[in-house]
Symmetry: C2
Subunit: 427 residues, 2 copies
């Protein structure tokens, strides 16, 4: 791996990927067609793009039974434990409606209500990502979303990966649409004869899915458009090079555009990590992908001290940060921008990716400067509550009218004046 | 006003306004020029578009003193009381960082941190909207945002409206840029020699501002793109027609595209409200605007009962709802989608627009289905915290590795395996 001394001339942030106009035109066409032709268009695109005949648009009970039969028991048990952990963590996020009252009769507050309906997109292809289903569905369930529709592209036999079907079934997801790409996003956003429209769409996908989500944003809400995954590891001399290397590779194996960075004041560690990465790459199944990612977006940054290492993290605002230092908690308060912070040498990123409980849907590409992990909040909305009594209005109506007239809104002022002129209110 | 019997053939929702490609091209050009030429471009656009020479890009101390001199004392005092109320309400919204611990040493949690820097856009023109400043700046301050930059277009003398300067000064806003339109948004998003870039831009503006905000979204975060303002009033026979009419007009005077709707089962009330609206329009300064809004987007919907009236509200998901019924709190739990809910006959919308405390920046155009009022949360972000002990990893590493391998990510599995193979961890 490249070892780079940090100074003011080193540019840390990577440029965002630019959009693709050709794909956008295809996406816009698919969206319009599904919006107009509904289920018929959905079936036609699934046949054309996924090569699958789907008589039944939704996963059947038989398919669920078959999925369970083809999955190892230990995988089902691991999913169940992960579900319990993720549910426990997200239940701690749930906000309450609240009110504040004053002795003049005023009641102010905030009413929290769940979204009516949410769509969860799950990528297809050869691999399956059941962890994504857990991370997207559980916060929606904890928020008490009324209706959850999952969708994922079928393979050529018209089926979904068994791990996807089992993960959804373990969560009690009743509606699993077999459709992918922009056509699935269109069905969720606009509704079809058999797919009722939702209010928000979450979940990762390829460029078609991302552009389709961006296009329907406004009609419905969407979660973030995720960029390539990133890890930055802050390490001192106490860190084990083999752990650091293993964690870098677990990020780099995701895809060629993944970012894996170490920031350390230790030249010794830097050299050892670089050697360890080579050693561990030797027998890694996805070594080609990881090598490419490390070549393009990997680096070991040398800093003057750990303070400067933290400053590099804050400049990068990465998706994942690991603190592999002797006193990891000493740095928690200093890390200003990150999606998830892994403290101490036993807290490998994999622990959080799959199992510990916090969400793995995290802000990428520097957006941790202003964005947060997916949470229960993303499936709730709030309404302000305002109740003024006759007494409260009598006390305050002149101030309100003054402010309204300052802005030139006479009718706003009269709306409070009229309530003062006409004797006492009824209630 | 139109009185319409609600049935399944009545279409309630209005279509979103479509974008404007001509304006977009102008906006894109301004953004690129300011990004490239910085302060020089900012000054040139301010001269060209606002007709103002601005030697000093920022409001000076002298301008602040002059602003106070030209504002009535009662206006300053009303602003001060509004500030106190809005601050009190928003302080109740502030979330805490939290942690949960397990006896195996696991620590999981959520760290809450403020955004580093926020830009607040304030519209200019003949009128001033100090209430907007209060609603945008106070939640950012309560969140402890590091740096707040306000910006507003100057008039031809190069000055801002005194109410704008006083409102900002009362809040302690130190940096007030004198620039408007897309050029101001560009300066905030990209930074110039004298304007440091921010992480998020909030505040309403004209079409140029809205399109510029949309264009820089991703580079920075933005608040919602607000549509025309809306009110829906649920009323029964107990409601006073003059109050209902006054509140409709306070919405309709905003602009020709504003929506003002009554939903009631009472034909008697419907007729009285319609007559009252005409009567109150007679001497209203902004009567022409209000008349146009009511003609295009106003309606009195007749429903079978109050339950159906609430259903109409939930279908519309309006920005503001007033409940002018005998038992207003009986309907609170039934209102699923609304930005702000005003309960009872003394709770005119003006009370919330200016003074009570809750934010007046609210979701419009049906987006209350999935969006919330502007709040302290919009100026904070969260990071997950994950700490696993050696004991916790020993207990769980097999499940984690199983899930990683189920997804085909061998390096993820090895990152936990390697920590189990190598003796006990150091700490």
């Amino acid at each position: 791996m490249k070892i780079i001394q940090v100074n003011e001339n080193v540019s840390l942030r990577r440029d965002p990927d630019s959009g693709n106009e050709k794909i956008q035109a295809v996406v816009d066409d698919i969206l319009a067609t599904v919006r107009h032709d509904g289920d018929e268009a959905l079936r036609a695109y699934t046949k054309k793009l996924d090569g699958a005949e789907t008589d039944a648009l939704f996963v059947t009970e038989t398919e669920r039974v078959e999925a369970y039969e083809s999955l190892e028991d230990e995988a089902v048990e691991a999913l169940q434990q992960a579900i319990a952990n993720i549910r426990d963590f997200h239940e701690r996020q749930r906000p309450q409606s609240w009110m504040t009252t004053k002795s003049d009769g005023t009641i102010l507050g905030q009413q929290v209500t769940p979204l009516d309906a949410v769509g969860v997109y799950v990528p297809g292809g050869k691999a399956a990502y059941p962890s994504t289903i857990l991370m997207d569905v559980i916060p929606a369930q904890v928020a008490h979303v009324g209706r959850i529709v999952m969708t994922s592209p079928p393979d050529e036999t018209g089926r979904l990966h068994p791990a996807v079907v089992v993960a959804a079934s373990e969560l009690g997801v009743e509606t699993i649409l077999k459709a992918g790409g922009a056509q699935a996003i269109a069905a969720l956003a606009y509704g079809t004869e058999s797919v009722p429209a939702v209010d928000k769409i979450v979940g990762p996908g390829n460029d078609y899915v991302a552009l389709a989500k961006r296009a329907v944003f406004g009609q419905v809400d969407i979660d973030m458009i995720a960029g390539p995954s990133e890890i930055v590891i802050i390490a001192d001399d106490s860190a084990r090079p083999d752990y650091v290397a293993a964690d870098l590779l677990s990020q780099a194996e995701h895809e060629e555009r993944a970012t894996a960075i170490v920031v350390t004041p230790s030249k010794t560690l830097a050299k050892k990590v670089s050697a360890e990465v080579e050693r561990q790459l030797e027998d890694l199944p996805r070594a080609a992908i990881a090598r490419q990612a490390l070549a393009d977006y990997g680096a070991i940054y040398l800093t003057a001290d750990l303070s400067e290492a933290v400053a590099v993290v804050n400049e990068l605002a990465p998706e994942h940060v690991e603190v592999l230092c002797e006193q990891p908690f000493a740095y928690l308060g200093k890390i200003k921008h990150a999606g998830a912070i892994f403290l101490g040498e036993n807290s490998a990123e994999s622990v959080g990716d799959y199992f510990a409980g916090p969400n793995h849907v995290l802000p990428t590409n520097g957006t941790a400067r202003f964005s947060s992990p997916l949470s229960v909040d993303d499936f709730l909305k709030k309404a302000s509550i305002i109740h003024y009594s006759a007494e409260a209005l009598a006390e305050n109506h002149e101030n309100i009218a003054t402010l309204a007239r300052l802005e030139g809104f006479e009718a706003h002022a009269r709306a409070v004046d009229i309530r003062r002129k006409r004797g006492g209110p009824k209630s």
